[in-house]
Symmetry: C2
Amino acid sequence: MRRKTSQRSAIEHVFRQQDRAMGIDEILSYGRELVPSLNQATVYRYLKLLLEKGRVKQISHPSLGTLYELAGKTHHHHFHCHACNRLFNLPGCALNEKKAAPEGFVVEDHEVFLFGVCPACAGA
Amino acid sequence: MRRKTSQRSAIEHVFRQQDRAMGIDEILSYGRELVPSLNQATVYRYLKLLLEKGRVKQISHPSLGTLYELAGKTHHHHFHCHACNRLFNLPGCALNEKKAAPEGFVVEDHEVFLFGVCPACAGA
DNA sequence: GTCGTTGCAAAGCCTTTGCAGGGAA
DNA sequence: TTCCCTGCAAAGGCTTTGCAACGAC
C-alpha cells in the first residue's frame, strides 16, 4: 500500500508551487524548506514512483540534464535560451502529429525542444 | 594544430558506415573493429571536439541515454519504439517553426522526439 | 504490530581529467 | 624535434541500492 508522508507531500507541493520543469537539485532544495531532513535518495525514489504512475514527466536536455515536471498539464513545448540558460514553457503545439511519422508508425506522444534566444536576451 | 590519427579516422568511419544515432558504447565497439586499442576516453574527447566544430549532434533521450549522430544530414526527427527499444530516423519535418514560439523568441534549431510503436512491432 | 518509507552511506553508471608515453607533421 | 593525441587509471557527477531505524495505518 502507498503511504502519505511529509516528504512526499513536500515534493508534490514543490511541483505545484513552481509549476515548471526542475532538476533534482531544485526539487531537493525547495523541498527542504518544508522538510529539512529531506534526502536525495527519497526524492529520486518518489520521482521514480511518480514517473511509473504517469504523474510526472521526465525530460532529458543535453546541457540542462534531467528535468521533471507535472504531467497532465496543457500540452506545451520547451524552449531553451542558450544566452541566459533558462528553460521556457511554450503553450500550444505547432506539430502536425498526423504528418510527423510515415504510415505504420503509431505515435503516442511527442516532445519538442526549441533552441535559440529568448525575448529578454534578444532585446539586450 | 589538429592531427589525423587512425583512431579518429575509425570514429568517423563508424559514423558514415552506420548512418544513425549511436551511443558511446556502440561507437566504441564498432571503432574497435578497426582500431582494437581504441579507448573510451579517446572517443569522448574526439566527440567533444566534433561537437564543438558542429560536425556531430548530441541527443539526450530519457531511456536511451546520450546519442551522437552526424550533423549536416537532411533534417529529420527521431522516433523511439518502446516495444523494441529502437530509434528510427523519420524524414521531413511536420513542425511549423514560425508558429512554434511566440513573438520575440528567436528559434535557431529544434529537436522533435516521437514516442510510440514502430510498424514492425505494431503489426506483430 | 506490519510493512512501506526514509536517511545514510556505499556502490554503480557515465563522463571527464591528469599524466606520461607515443606518434603525426 | 615538437607538441598534439592516446591509453590508462583516477576522479567527478548523477543515480541507484542495501540496510537498519522510523512512522503511517
